[in-house]
């Protein structure tokens, strides 16, 4: 998972980190990085899509079994 996160382009990793670890709202992220909220939302969605693709289906399956 860590590798996958590190492989994300910086723009995508930035919004993901601010959301998941710093627990900021979309609005806060938008004002911190200086882009419209719509951009935050689309970057987050694309970051997660890319992350799901990068992660093997097995790691998702493992987590689901927990």
């Amino acid at each position: 998972v860590r590798n996958a996160v590190e492989q994300l382009p910086p723009d995508f990793r930035e919004v993901l980190v601010l959301r998941e670890f710093e627990e900021m709202s979309y609005k806060e992220i938008a004002s911190v990085i200086g882009v419209p909220i719509g951009t935050v939302m689309s970057r987050l969605a694309r970051a997660r899509d890319r992350l799901s693709a990068l992660l093997t289906s097995s790691s998702l399956a493992m987590e689901r079994q927990r």
Binding site: V1, R2, F21, G38, R48, L51, L60
Partner: protein
């Protein structure tokens, strides 16, 4: 609520960014739809996985150095922007002196408004605040603008308010209120009027209809791809609201 709506909102739902109504609608849908339930579960699993990655904050000293550098760079770019703006103001000023025509200035403004309208539709940036409640939308502008735009909802006559956002027109921040008529979006740009206009001005640019009026010292510009008849009805109702 349909599966398509869920696909669009699943991120905001899992991030708890949706308003109470939409959240309730998704819960209801998810309880009845197995494939959407799985979609939400996968999204939540992904969130847990990401948060399980060890996350270390930079040490205080490094953090402070990075922040200081960013601030320095930011103030430099502010300076550049201001200089550019000053040059632009001088250029525009000289231009206006030579041309001495208010029409051209207003043409540029109308172009600007149509651009903003198109941009709002293209860049998935229709709202900063998505709500059909005028009492949610109006307070949202507090502290973001140095004026308080009047916000109304015309849902009873078929033009529901769907949200608002902060926009920039001719270099100044303005309020943009978003209304819907079936599949058509109407952006109403609002800012304090510099003069008292009379009547409604009509323009069409690249297929977009533009209507302008001044009321209670506020300048209103409605932009939409909606047809003339319905947009005029919208404007008439807007001007006389509440009935």
């Amino acid at each position: 609520m349909m599966c398509d709506d869920l696909a669009r909102d699943v991120e905001a739902y899992a991030d708890r960014e949706l308003d109470a109504d939409s959240t309730a609608a998704i819960r209801l849908h998810v309880s009845a739809c197995a494939s959407c339930r799985q979609r939400v579960a996968e999204r939540e699993t992904l969130g847990r996985l990401v948060r399980s990655v060890p996350y270390r904050m930079a040490p205080d000293r490094l953090r402070a150095r990075v922040v200081a550098q960013v601030e320095r760079r930011r103030s430099l770019s502010h300076l550049l922007v201001r200089t550019a703006a000053a040059v632009l103001i001088v250029t525009v000023g000289v231009g206006i002196m030579f041309v001495r025509s208010a029409t051209i200035q207003s043409d540029a403004l109308v172009e600007d408004l149509v651009e903003s309208h198109v941009r709002s539709l293209l860049a998935e940036h229709l709202f900063d605040v998505q709500s059909t409640d005028q009492h949610t939308v109006k307070p949202w502008f507090l502290g973001k603008l140095d004026f308080s735009p009047p916000v109304i909802d015309l849902a009873p006559v078929g033009f529901p308010l769907v949200g608002g956002r902060l926009d920039y027109v001719s270099g100044q921040p303005v309020a943009a209120l978003v209304f819907q008529r079936q599949k058509h979006t109407i952006n109403v740009f609002v800012w304090p009027a510099s003069n008292q206009g009379s009547g409604t001005r009509e323009r069409t640019i690249r297929g977009f209809n533009v209507r302008h009026w001044v009321r209670h010292s506020m300048s209103f510009w409605a932009v939409s791809d909606l047809n003339d008849v319905e947009l005029n009805e919208f404007v008439r109702t807007y001007q006389m609201w509440p009935p």
